[in-house]
Amino acid sequence: MFWLVVAAAASVLPWYAVAPANAASSGLLLALGGSVAVLPVYAVLLALAGIGVGGGGGGRAAQRLAALASFAGAVWILVSSGLQGTPYDPALALTLSNQPAVGWGAGLTVVALLGLGATALARAGMMDGDRFGAHLLVLVCAILALFVLFPLAQILEAVSRPDETGSVLAGLAGRLGGREIWGLTCLVDGGRCGMVWNSVGLGTAVGLSATLLGLGASLFIVRTNAPMRGPLRLVTLLPLVTPPFVVGLALILLFGRSGSVTLFMYDVFDIRPSRWIYGPQGVWLAQTLGLTPLAFMVIHATLVSVSPSVEEAAQTLRAGRWYTFRTVTLPLIRPGLANAFLLCFIESLADLGNPLILGGGFRVLASGIYFKIVGAQADLGEAAGLGLILLAISLTVFLLQTVWLRGASFVTVTGKGDGGKFGELAPSLKLLVGGVTLIWGVLIVTVYGTVIAGSFAQIWGRDYSFTLTHYLDAFDVISGPHGLVWSGGAWNFFFTTMWIAAVAAPLTAALGLLTAYLIARRRFVGRGVFEFAAMMSFAMPGTVIGLAYVLSFNAPPIEITGTAVILIVAFISRNMPIGVRVGLAQFSQIDPSLDEASTTLGARPGMTLRRVLYPLMKPAVATAVIYAFVSSVTTLSQVIFLVSPRYDWATTYIIGLVENTNYGRAIAYSVVLIVLLIVIVALLQLILTRTEFRRVNTKSTGETQ
């Protein structure tokens, strides 16, 4: 009933985003005017109204038919203009193939139709007749279809467009083959290798080094009693709130040709300054430093789940310390190591900032896509080809990770009491772990020290005198006859970044957690596929999402490029999987008998979710919101194709400054961003988990009984 009212209200709103010339604007009038695009929609709505008014009449078959009809209606609104994305030409008559983008009327009608479909599905017995669950499922599916699957399809379409000669095969070959992509000349005569090999090679190297460093740091923190472990833990969290390319920037300030380390080496040892940092080595170093915390978190979590008792057992059997480590500990944490490696590999593939500022002539797939698009010869087809290859590699690794590591976790900490202490590490290993961690810690501290110092230095490498110019340039405010003028160059980007991320974060978290709820607590057909689709966008590199969105939403039926909506939607679909993951983990710790108890007491599923599950989920909500916010603010690759002058992003502004070697202001802005993020994360943590303790207590007593 509700959705019919919505549809009725929508029928008087402007149907299209732009009022078509010499035609009515509202949906109702268009339908009365005999518009082929709109008439079928109202035919469906009228038929549904007939059923709805008839008091939910008809059997299940009728309801299924109704659901089908509503979804068909919604799809029709979106596809009737064709999915090729031809822009609307107001000079021509309004026809099926010449329609403006979807406006308020059409948009709300789509929502209403989806709602009607969900209601009908519930009545037909889906989700045991629970309308709330059905609505949720339809909502998530619609979002996934529209903002993940449809853009992917557009990439495929752009890749398989025929080339100038009209041949599809030649077009495919041109975009997916080519020396630039697959070339192997670097092996033969010192030439350059194709981007695929560069990307895969870099990802492997970064994955290995970050995993090793992460392993070293985890062992150091969990298994030694060395001092400084507390501060080190904090330091490992820093890169999470840092835009990834800031590390690369600091490396230039240190090791660039006029970097401080370089000049020091020149003065003291007479080592000629060179440009060695610009190239694969530099990118590798920057990414390794940036991604080690990720590897650390994964390995650390695995390492603490290894029970001391198994190691004790080994040592009781007279295994040496080193032997115990090699044959007991290491195999037990192997899934963690593999997971860390694969995650770092995926992140390295997706990173755009570091290859951009440190790559020199070294091209990886992510930067290749960028250069294909920014050039005057912007070739979306070739960019899509690179995007498809990047996506294929990333998805393969993601599949490997899900399939291979599923059920490969060896948890040895059980509910049964098992105290005991970890044995000492072998002395040689201890030394190794300490040394590796020390080097890493020193590098990280140097990097951040450089960033902070650099933001206050007049000109890094030449004039180290103290100045606030960089901060003032970025964040100055002057007063004029028309009031305050935010004259600093960074304000515009700053405000936009903050409010868009603030809008996107709660939506992202909500969608992710609700999806997790569906997966964890509901039974329905196609749940496995649903789960995979929901998690898949995690493996979609930011540049690929950006590119796909440009291809998909630049023309009717949905025209949102150059608006804030496209950024919000991109963040939601990319960051949602983290919410799903966190949610699934949390749900698995909440006993389903609580749900059952609630249901037995007469609560409907929506009520159970709100009153029983949500309070228990607060830590997960906090994690998901914080993650969504931070990663939206610090991302570069996702936004670089989607920003417009009105909605520009902090990171694209900074990368522009770097490109113009305006390092001082670039790092001053980065410092502000990092500090602000730390404050915001702390505040969010405080607000979102404030009431948590009392309830966690209730929960734990509930579980032990």
């Binding site: 350059r192 000109i459 023309a555």
Partner: protein
Amino acid sequence: MIGTKHLIFATAVSAIALTSGAASAQNLVMYCSVQQSWCEATAAAFTKETGIRVAMQRKDTGAALAQIRAESANPQADVWWGGSGDAHIQAASDGLTQEYKSPNVSELRDWAVEQGETTGYKTIGIYSGVLGWGYNTEFFEREGLDPPLAWSDLEKADYEGEIQVANPNTSGTAYTALATLVQLYGEDEAFDYLKRIDGNISEYTQSGTAGIRAAALGETGIGIAFLHDVIQQAAAGFPVKAVAPSDGTGYEIGSMSLIKDGPNPDVAKTFYDWALTAEAQGLALDAGAYQIQANKNVEPAPEAPKLDETKLIDYDFAKYGSAETRSHLLKRWDNEIASQR
């Protein structure tokens, strides 16, 4: 019960859509293709003067042109301010920009007005600059090298990996350099030359000013750039020296255009008129921009390159700004230079 939940969904959906709509109030949207500091000074001064807020995005000339073309069905910006004139001419001939003759045109120097006349006032000159390069004096001293004084000097093996120039696809500076060389040597000879100096070039940057900034910082020895960009670095205290090639060089007429069917046409004209005034053009120097300004009442800075002391070629703006020549040269550059790296 279900009703309220639906309502929450509906409000959430409409809230997203509304916020996006509400933000499009009266303000100016601008692509800016000169140095960041000048872009920002101009935007802030305009806001201070008129109270109109400016959403400005700095984009390299070629990138701005590509963006405006990509958005032509649904233009997002009102004004394209600055950047090499040939790209503006191309935008004019492609019908991407709006004809407008400002009352303030009478205050401009001849070469600026000429830019308007060749395009039917779809663009107008706002500054001019001479092409050349800057070299890092400390680096040259340390290595005991002679600085390059002519285009032909850049071929020297001494400079291996020491030159930075931008990619002509994205940078107006680099396209001016490409067109200059073609006019100096003839097309085939120019491409042979570019292939010969390719080994000396460490990187084709995206932004036209990146090379000279790198030279100023000592990250590279030589940066090919407009001389005003070199002088800006020298004036800021960096050890760089400007060279106007002795075998002749090209120049640019930096321009401004109104984007056709931009979202705020009236505000755009207000900006356009204001940007041509002596007051607005006088902002350049304080922002460290040493271009020669188009307004007759703005004296060039003493450090600015002297047009009459430089051997300038007779730069054919109409030809090298045309879509045909431009895309031909860029395609050839892509095929013969970029893809061979």
